[in-house]
């Protein structure tokens, strides 16, 4: 195995900017700020309805949340490998890792839709059922939309990589898509314990 093939998470030395287009990082920070406000609002609202939040938190499917967390972490790992592959000038491997990441994203969507079906159709829950469900639906659905957006971006990057648009010398697009996808993962890493576990 060459030094190039061994390299993973390779970063230019003295890099003063994060990987990818700087514009996506402005967007990422804006998105993270919105989610931070959501999280704080959840936590401070819960302060006044502890019993209600603890009671209805128990109705959530923690196993589904576990599967979704594993799916997103795994997809993020696959994206890291996709970036490493293109830095090694291996666009074929890059495409494969991106497709694997998209498969994990699909797992997330399917499991989440199953959860929504249970709550919305079987239990008849909606935004006005109670404060806990209002937050649960708002937070998870907002994140759900970001997962879809991230998958669209990853799919576009995969198509471009397949068409040979990226190389070891120029792969900003791959890093940009990867950064957005990691942000989606990052948000879920806080959302999962906050909404499903902490009580």
């Amino acid at each position: 195995m060459t030094a190039q093939a061994e390299a993973i998470n390779i970063a230019p030395l003295s890099n003063r900017y994060p990987p990818g287009d700087l514009a996506i990082w402005i967007f990422i920070l804006a998105e993270l700020s919105v989610f931070a406000i959501f999280f704080a609002a959840y936590a401070f609202t819960r302060m006044h309805h502890v019993e209600l939040f603890n009671q209805y938190q128990q109705t959530l499917d923690k196993r589904a949340a576990l599967i979704n967390t594993l799916a997103l972490i795994t997809s993020s790992y696959f994206v890291v490998r996709a970036v490493a592959a293109i830095r090694e000038d291996n666009s074929q491997h890059c495409v494969r890792w991106l497709l694997a990441a998209l498969a994990m994203g699909t797992v997330f969507l399917v499991v989440k839709l199953g959860e929504y079906h249970h709550h919305f159709v079987v239990e008849g829950v909606n935004l006005s059922t109670n404060t806990f469900y209002m937050f649960y639906i708002s937070l998870t659905f907002f994140h759900f939309m970001h997962v879809i957006m991230g998958m669209v971006i990853l799919a576009a990057v995969a198509v471009m990589a397949k068409n040979g648009k990226y190389s070891a010398a120029e792969h900003t697009g791959v890093e940009t898509g990867a950064s957005y996808w990691h942000m989606v993962d990052l948000v879920w890493l806080i959302l999962f314990p906050l909404v499903y576990v902490m009580r």
């Binding site: 030094a3 190039q4 061994e6 390299a7 993973i8 998470n9 390779i10 970063a11 230019p12 030395l13 890099n15 003063r16 900017y17 994060p18 990987p19 990082w25 920070l29 993270l32 989610f35 931070a36 999280f39 704080a40 936590a43 401070f44 819960r46 302060m47 502890v50 603890n54 128990q58 923690k62 949340a65 576990l66 967390t69 594993l70 972490i73 795994t74 993020s76 790992y77 994206v79 890291v80 490998r81 970036v83 490493a84 830095r87 890093e175 990867a178 950064s179 990691h182 942000m183 993962d185 990052l186 890493l189 806080i190 999962f192 314990p193 906050l194 499903y196 576990v197 902490m198 009580r199």
Partner: protein, 96 residues
């Protein structure tokens, strides 16, 4: 390839794979605590701490911010810290 540095492998495993394994392990710990349904401030804060560590690992190793010099190295860490403190405060107050 003069501008790239090789990440050191530990036990023949890539750093990002180690991070992935840590993330998976922490996730199972969080899930098991959740299954127990413990209502405790200390447990909640411990779970939050695990989540913040996971977020830090994602920022540093997956997003590549560990290799960035200067102010752009810190936004994700600061982002984790701010909601982390707010959530901790809210949970602490809810137990008073």
């Amino acid at each position: 390839m003069s501008q790239v540095k090789r990440a050191r492998r530990v036990l023949g495993i890539r750093p990002c794979t180690w991070v992935y394994l840590f993330l998976i392990t922490f996730t199972f710990v969080t899930f098991l605590v959740g299954k127990m349904g413990i209502a405790s401030l200390h447990v909640s804060l411990l779970i939050l701490l695990l989540a913040l560590i996971k977020g830090h690992l994602v920022g540093r190793y997956f997003m590549g911010l560990g290799a960035v010099r200067g102010p752009w190295r810190w936004p994700v860490s600061i982002w984790l810290l701010v909601p982390g403190l707010l959530i901790s405060t809210a949970f602490y107050l809810s137990y008073q």
